[in-house]
């Protein structure tokens, strides 16, 4: 069976961007996201899902990957021309080692038990 290749992928539901899985031409309509792509975006690159004002954080993997260096419109290509990270502003000593223990995603023991045949 031939399957239609997906155009873009969203790595986390909270992300501000989707990733192009192949070269996406300008004007492509992404129905799933209610979005028209404004620029030609190469495979592996990012497309803004919503408008982002200058200075606002941009998230991928639900993590901040940088800040908009100019206003970004929904559907625009997001890359070095409009996304920056001022490292010293992000990685302060307190960010490097937070004083509070992490509560990232405490995993509960699984109810089902998987087994293997060990030697």
């Amino acid at each position: 069976m031939l399957t239609e290749h997906v155009l873009v992928i969203q790595l986390n539901r909270s992300d501000d961007v989707v990733i192009a899985c192949q070269d996406v031409p300008a004007g492509t309509v992404l129905d799933e996201y209610g979005l028209t792509v404004r620029d030609a975006v190469p495979a592996g690159h990012k497309i803004a899902l919503r408008s982002i004002t200058s200075g606002q954080p941009v998230r991928r993997y639900d993590q901040i990957i940088g800040f908009a260096s100019e206003p970004i419109a929904a559907g625009q290509h997001v890359h070095v021309h409009n996304l920056r990270v001022q490292f010293s502003n992000v990685i302060t000593p307190s960010v490097r080692t937070p004083s509070q223990p992490g509560t990232f995603n405490r995993v509960q023991p699984s109810a089902e038990s998987s087994v293997l045949m060990g030697g």
Binding site: H5, G44, S114, M117, G118
Partner: protein, 380 residues
């Protein structure tokens, strides 16, 4: 068959070669006899960091649960003396863990003869090991990525992360490594640390790297390369996140030095270089039973005694190097599977491989050349 020093590598290989062909026919539960050799062990400071790391690595292999018996071959006059190795690492001598030296065996022919005899004595004991059902909580896997491409952070790494979340939820352990590859985004891991002490342990290893590279007159500049940028990576945070995605989303529960025994269950970090065979050698010495290796350009890595599964980032690679790839994470790009579904499949393949199913690299016989202990300090 392990070696204390490069000088005993050939003897170790000759001993293992005596057990090829029909030699193991009476011992169906023995997978094989392998010589695992290296290029160092002498011409080095006996009290230096390099010796400490080498001995920790050899000790980790000597204790590894995927081996039944170990014979350590020395030359006799090397800096890394077998006696000192066994005593400093508290390695218990016995019928399944012993050593000989070439100089005390009357030379090469005598050492090979003695070595073959020792292994013959081990075989009936090794053959008593049979497979039985155990919980997945007993598994420790090492996470690797090599020959990355722009899809690594979209398909194979997040899919492996989803598998790691499943393994951790079953009580198992996964080792994330390659410190230089997370440099500049360490806060993303310390934020997930189960306690501030664990975060501090990671930062102290990063400070060590800063001092080390300064000493070697290098730089830890991990900014996206022109190739990374062409592939769509804009910032250092994004690049490191792609590598860290292999570790899934659970808490970081401990940080270990290179080749240190991994004693905490859950997602842990081990400080290693980014160079894949060196990194994986540290993980296996730490107790990894299995390696999961994501690759975009097409790695052919394999390891003994830990099977290595190769996870292709695209269908194109999976088809091009079909006999080296174990699973196709490119299906995420093709729209045939979600990251979660691939994670489930990887987890299932991990269990099957741990149960004896052969990985591609095992079928090719990889693993004897991939033991590469981290070399630190001056060669003298």
């Amino acid at each position: 068959v392990l070696t204390t020093v490069n000088c005993s590598a050939t003897v170790a290989k000759r001993i293992s070669e005596a057990f090829t062909g029909d030699a193991l026919r009476e011992y169906p539960n023995v997978d094989g006899v392998v010589a695992i050799t290296h290029t160092t062990g002498c011409g080095m400071d006996i009290n230096g960091e390099g010796m400490e790391v080498l001995r920790r690595t050899l000790s980790g292999y000597a204790r590894h649960v995927n081996f039944c018996g170990i014979l350590m071959i020395g030359l006799g006059c090397e800096v890394n003396q077998a006696e000192d190795l066994f005593s400093t690492q508290n390695l218990p001598r016995g019928p399944l863990l012993s050593s000989i030296t070439i100089q005390e065996s009357g030379g090469t022919v005598g050492a090979i003869r003695r070595g073959v005899e020792r292994i013959r004595e081990m075989l009936p004991m090794a053959n008593e090991a049979t497979r039985r059902t155990v919980a997945a909580a007993n598994l420790t896997i090492g996470l690797q990525c090599g020959g990355s491409d722009s899809y690594s952070g979209i398909t194979a790494n997040p899919a492996l992360g989803a598998a790691v979340d499943l393994l951790v939820s079953h009580g198992g352990t996964a080792i994330l490594s390659e410190t230089p590859e997370i440099y500049g985004a360490e806060h993303l891991l310390t934020r997930r640390a189960a306690s501030p002490d664990i975060g501090e342990k990671l930062i102290s290893r990063i400070r060590w790297w800063e001092e080390y590279t300064e000493r070697e007159r290098g730089e830890m500049n991990n900014n996206p390369s022109p190739g990374n940028k062409a592939g769509g990576l804009t910032t250092i945070l994004e690049k490191s996140l792609g590598a860290v995605a292999k570790g899934g989303t659970t808490n970081l529960v401990d940080v270990f030095k290179y080749a240190e025994p991994v004693t905490t269950k859950g997602l842990v970090f081990m400080d290693t270089p980014g160079y894949d065979p060196v990194s994986a050698t540290g993980q296996v010495a730490g107790g990894a039973n299995l390696i999961c290796f994501t690759t975009g350009r097409g790695s052919v890595y394999g390891c003994k005694p830990a099977p290595s599964l190769k996870l292709a980032t695209s269908s194109r690679l999976y088809q091009q190097m079909a006999d080296d790839m174990d699973i196709n994470c490119g299906e995420i790009l093709d729209g045939n599977a979600s990251i979660q579904e691939l994670g489930q499949r990887i987890f299932q393949l991990i269990l099957e491989t741990a149960s004896g199913r052969k990985s591609r690299s095992e079928a090719h016989g990889f693993g004897a050349e991939e033991f590469v202990p981290w070399m630190l300090g001056a060669v003298m």
